[in-house]
Assembly symmetry: C2
Homo-oligomer: 152 residues x 2
DNA sequence: TTCAAATAGTTTAAGTTTGAAATACTCCAT
DNA sequence: ATGGAGTATTTCAAACTTAAACTATTTGAA
């Protein structure tokens, strides 16, 4: 008995779509994760460096929201990055609850060298798709992602 | 300075595409995860039930390959499902290293009720995209995923 | 036949993430 | 000005995953 017959055409379409999406996401994460580890960083650590490198100092809360990760998790990631001297916490003077996180000079330099390589790698991993296809995919994913954000 | 200028057009396209993909995947996982938890199952447990429900008995190795997860992890997931009486391990008589895992009657019934709801939910979560768009997205993801599989 | 290599699965330690409780601080209505 | 509600971050225990070491079994070449 085919899935189509059991759950209907709409569900079948959606289910297979999400399976492919999850697989692509996981596999991509594994591949780039291996690269990142070779620079002595974990994936989430790299995520934070990238964010700070591109956006400048951010609060712990902002980092968590952007990475879709809880605050407790950000704390741990930052503890480890701080031990390595890649970032520093700076307590805000306006609102003393808030902590701004920023790259140290060492973090700056780590960011620059690792991110360039990462960008090249990502471009290479995506090269099966033409530029047009990548734009198409981005557009569809954006539509899907935005709608998901508003759900439950 | 825009990312485009720093890393080139190709990298920019690919990077934003992957960010959107990861976000969609994570958010989708969170939403469906909440549903699944309400049936007393974790996401990976549900994944195994679904697989066995649709494909019949599988070996531990097969399950790991399909879920993109290590064997050690499958062992733990199965231990917990077995405690709940949802699945059973059956040592193969042809090759005594091999274990086949199959649903118990209880597992069958859990699978049937939970999966139907899951399918409806997934269809609903995907309904921002038309059927045609979902097919387009699937096609692009498949192309991307297949190419990724062969890398490094 | 026999033993080394390969394969299937489990165990273990270490790392990551989550959610809830705790702490510290700010804001606002009284 | 003051107390309660709300916000930012950390701490902690529990759950999941991985990688590597280990056990049990099979395969195949000498």
């Amino acid at each position: 008995m085919r899935t189509t017959e059991q759950y209907g055409r709409k569900a079948e379409l959606a289910l297979t779509m999400w399976v492919k999406l999850a697989r692509a996401s996981t596999t991509f994460g594994r591949l780039t994760g291996k690269d990142i580890e070779q620079h002595g960083l974990t994936q989430p650590q790299f995520g934070v460096l990238e964010m700070l490198g591109h956006l400048g100092p951010l609060t712990i809360g902002d980092i968590g929201k952007r990475m879709l990760v809880t605050g407790g998790c950000v704390t741990v990631i930052l503890d480890n990055l701080e031990k390595e001297g890649q970032v520093e916490r700076i307590r805000s003077s306006e609102d003393r609850r808030v902590i701004k996180v920023q790259l140290t000079p060492k973090g700056e330099s780590t960011f620059k060298t690792t991110f360039r390589k990462h960008a090249e790698r990502v471009a290479e991993l995506s090269s099966v798709l033409s530029e047009e296809e990548q734009i198409q995919l981005s557009t569809l994913l954006k539509k899907l992602g935005l709608s998901l954000r508003d759900k439950q």
